[in-house]
Symmetry: C2
Subunit: 254 residues, 2 copies
């Protein structure tokens, strides 16, 4: 019984689907129906060629499509082939950022969301972190305890302080919340790498930010959810001012 080539639901590219996409959609439906799990193997190229009655080239184009979407990985050699793959977070993030390449975001847009989401995150996390997790936050904090001496230092510290938020977001119980925060932090990190956004340094605000994070860790350890929320809220307000003062535009990176 050959799999019905039913385009089904989404991910459909425009217009008349060409064969590679028909096959891709068919395979996706198949994954859903069979409840295939990451690691499960897809049929061989040869088998797929026969199943769908298509040439090697077409099947291979299909595999590249699924691979680009992160749904499979392929390995050569004996025991090789195409395997179901859980879409990685970096890939998902990267694919999403492609969308915003053409639909440009401002730093302001990002902060409007960060100031809603990050306080919620830390309120959820308060009292629920293990000591190693808290220690990891503290060790990150040490990377920028001392004032930066050079511009390069400044840049590294800026990125490290974003890293702090990445660590927090990794711990989110809510995957969607975590993903979105990480996505935004990555956009800001790219921005920082791209532009020299870390200068001119405003030492006063910077120290204030450091203290926010320090106090936040204490509040998290003590399980003071509402305090954590408040601190993060202030922190976001401050960071937003720091970024906007430098009239930052988002980097365009693919």
């Amino acid at each position: 019984m050959s799999p019905a080539i039913t385009p089904s639901n989404n991910t459909a590219p425009s217009a008349k689907m060409r064969r590679p996409y028909q096959v891709a959609e068919a395979i996706k439906s198949w994954i859903v129906e069979q409840g295939l799990q990451p690691g499960d193997k897809l049929p061989h190229e040869q088998t797929l060629m026969e199943l769908f009655g298509m040439s090697k080239g077409t099947i291979r184009e299909t595999m590249r499509v699924l691979e680009a979407q992160g749904l499979i990985i392929t390995r050569t050699g004996p025991k090789g082939g195409a395997f179901i793959n859980a879409v990685s977070e970096p890939l998902a993030s990267s694919l999403l950022s492609n969308y915003f390449f053409f639909n440009e975001l401002s730093v302001k847009d990002i902060y409007q969301l960060r100031r809603l989401l990050e306080p919620e995150l830390v309120a959820n996390l308060a009292g629920k972190l293990t000591e190693p997790q808290l220690a990891s936050l503290e060790s990150n904090l040490e990377k920028y305890a001392e004032p930066a001496k050079t511009a390069e230092d400044e840049r590294r510290q800026h990125i490290d302080s974003l890293q702090f938020h990445l660590i927090l977001a990794e711990l989110a119980g809510n995957e969607l919340l975590g993903f979105m925060i990480r996505f935004m932090v990555r956009m800001l990190t790219d921005l920082t790498v791209y532009r020299r956004l870390y200068e001119p340094p405003n030492h006063e605000l910077w120290e204030q930010g450091f203290n926010h994070q320090k106090n936040l860790i204490v509040a998290l350890r003590d399980g003071r959810a509402e305090d954590a929320r408040t601190i993060m809220h202030e922190h976001m307000d401050m960071a937003q001012r720091l970024m906007e003062a430098q009239e930052a535009e988002m980097a365009r990176v693919l």
Copy 2:
């Protein structure tokens, strides 16, 4: 001068990049460097083959990769070829949902975010909508003014009431905020289509929801931002209870 094949930054698949991905990355960098805009044409297959010194098959696989990511579209015929394409919102949404296929979300996770984001959205929108936009919301509202008579009716109304939020999110000034809300609404819509989530109907809560939306439109028209925020917040709370009462799980759709 042949384009340097520099893997550069992100979107990198795992391990040793195979040729199609190297070319894809090279083309992406090229797009960024040249500042290419949607509609701009890429070189012909033949030209690319020569430029990269690769065969037709490899180049075609590359094009499928870029196409799957939504960055190009290809057309046959004279004046055909590959053209830069602005990643469409539905595609971006769909690619992102692949990530959550393996990283499953609960309805609760989504509502934790909706509760934060949607009130913010309507507060931004208050007093800024044109009369046609408000009319569009009102006409959507009419679709479920009358109590549903059949189960099928119920289902349609449920989806229409989600549509209300989609319309609002389209109007967001903040693209990121708009995207995320639309993404969540789509996840919930899929869920509704997949499961019979609209039953058992709770008429009391349902009417309450209708009134929320009705009052919201008035507040938006009058420019009462904080009222709009409050109404939406209540609406989200109610909707969350409605959904969770039915112990909904997310649909798994690719």
